[in-house]
């Protein structure tokens, strides 16, 4: 399951690439000038394949009790330590495909980037479409393509950070692969997990995908501009989300019209100074 070397699963090569902002048509906004000093931390992800000599004859039972997610969790903790040391607020944005993660980020970057340094990691199975959309706002962004992988893992984020080099005190948005199931299990080292649902998806999403809501700290309800046209009860969605999780904070927004975005920014700022 090594996202960096792609050694775990054949045919499932992961690629991680920073978008070159010099080659991007900026959408009327100026790119962030400052780039962090180079990191001297080399790629030290290694494989423990040293041969051992002690041949055991016959059958041996090894009681190992090893956490299957142990390696990911360990790397996630390393990422978390890095974020804490640099006072970076890292957010893992999760949702079904098309809930508006990228739209939310485009809007957020346009509104906040002169105030707070912002960085983005985009996770998608294929294409750099989302990273290109983000780059057009002038924000530094790395695209991770997971190939057949349906979620981001901590090692991918670690590698992406080496390319991104976020500055102290910045905001790091990690847009996970659009999928309400798989990303739930994989800690990336984020400071908070934000689940996004849109009103076109049905208000019972929290009950259908409880794991994702269970592991999130904030729920954003997006596309509220479409509420008049769909059968979606905001109150019901909140009620269901409260059943499966301890989420107490909900923010209703429209990423396209901008309604409610100030509450999201207030949340970000509060969280950043916490």
């Amino acid at each position: 399951m090594c996202g960096i070397c792609g050694c775990g699963q054949p045919g499932n090569a992961v690629t991680i690439r920073k978008i070159d902002l010099k080659k991007v048509n900026l959408k009327k906004v100026t790119p962030l000038g400052a780039v962090a000093p180079l990191y001297h931390d080399d790629h030290d992800h290694h494989h423990d394949h040293a041969p051992t000599a002690n041949q055991v004859p016959g059958k041996t039972v090894l009681q190992i009790e090893q956490d299957i997610l142990g390696k990911n969790n360990l790397l996630a903790e390393r990422n978390r330590g890095f974020f804490e040391a640099k006072n970076i607020l890292a957010l893992n944005l999760v949702s079904s495909p098309g809930s508006g993660k990228t739209a939310l980020l485009e809007r957020t970057l346009a509104d906040l980037k002169n105030e707070i340094p912002c960085y983005v990691i985009e996770g998608d199975q294929q294409t750099s479409n989302d990273a290109d959309r983000i780059a057009a706002t002038g924000a530094e962004v790395v695209q991770i393509n997971t190939g057949k992988g349906c979620h981001l893992e901590a090692d991918m984020v670690n590698e992406a950070m080496r390319q991104l080099k976020p500055t102290d005190g910045s905001l790091l948005f990690i847009e996970n692969v659009g999928n309400l199931v798989c990303p739930a299990m994989f800690d990336l080292g984020e400071g908070a997990r934000v689940v996004i649902i849109s009103v076109t998806e049905g208000d019972d999403k929290p009950l259908k995908y409880p794991d994702m809501f269970h592991s999130s700290q904030l729920c954003i309800i997006n596309k509220i501009d479409l509420l008049p046209y769909v059968n979606f009860s905001v109150e019901k969605a909140k009620e269901y989300a409260r059943r499966v999780s301890h989420i107490t904070e909900f923010i209703e927004v429209s990423a396209t019209t901008g309604t409610g975005m100030e509450k999201w920014y207030a949340w970000l700022k509060k969280r950043r100074n916490a």
Partner: protein, 113 residues
């Protein structure tokens, strides 16, 4: 389907252990998986053969200890069986609870030869 990457992690653990022990292959593997761990057991079954092919786990016998979910109600302290994360406390009806069992996801043991 994250079960495939879970299997890849199991393979990684098994390969490292086989090598450490100087063994050749795994005869059987014991897994402990909680019912609230986020693993779809049928998906795990479905992906297993492909996931372990050409690894030390190919052909290994697989034993899964399924651990049922258990939670402690945050309101009344009642301990109850939890099948799904949205199950309320049967005593007081509260949805606020803390999971105490069912999140397990580990390789317990390997029999290597």
């Amino acid at each position: 389907m994250h079960e495939l990457s879970i299997i890849a992690s199991i393979v990684e653990i098994a390969e490292a252990e086989v090598e450490k022990a100087g063994a050749q292959r795994v005869e059987s593997i014991e897994l402990e998986i909680g019912e609230l761990a986020g693993i779809e057991f049928s998906a795990l079954d479905f992906a297993w053969e492909v996931g372990v092919s050409q690894s030390v786990l190919e052909g290994a016998e697989r034993h899964i200890h399924r651990i049922g979910g258990e939670a402690r109600c945050s309101e009344c302290e009642n301990i109850f069986d939890m099948q799904a994360l949205y199950d309320p406390c049967p005593k007081c009806g509260s949805y606020f609870s803390e999971i105490i069992k069912g999140k397990e996801l580990s390789v317990k043991a390997l029999t290597v030869t």
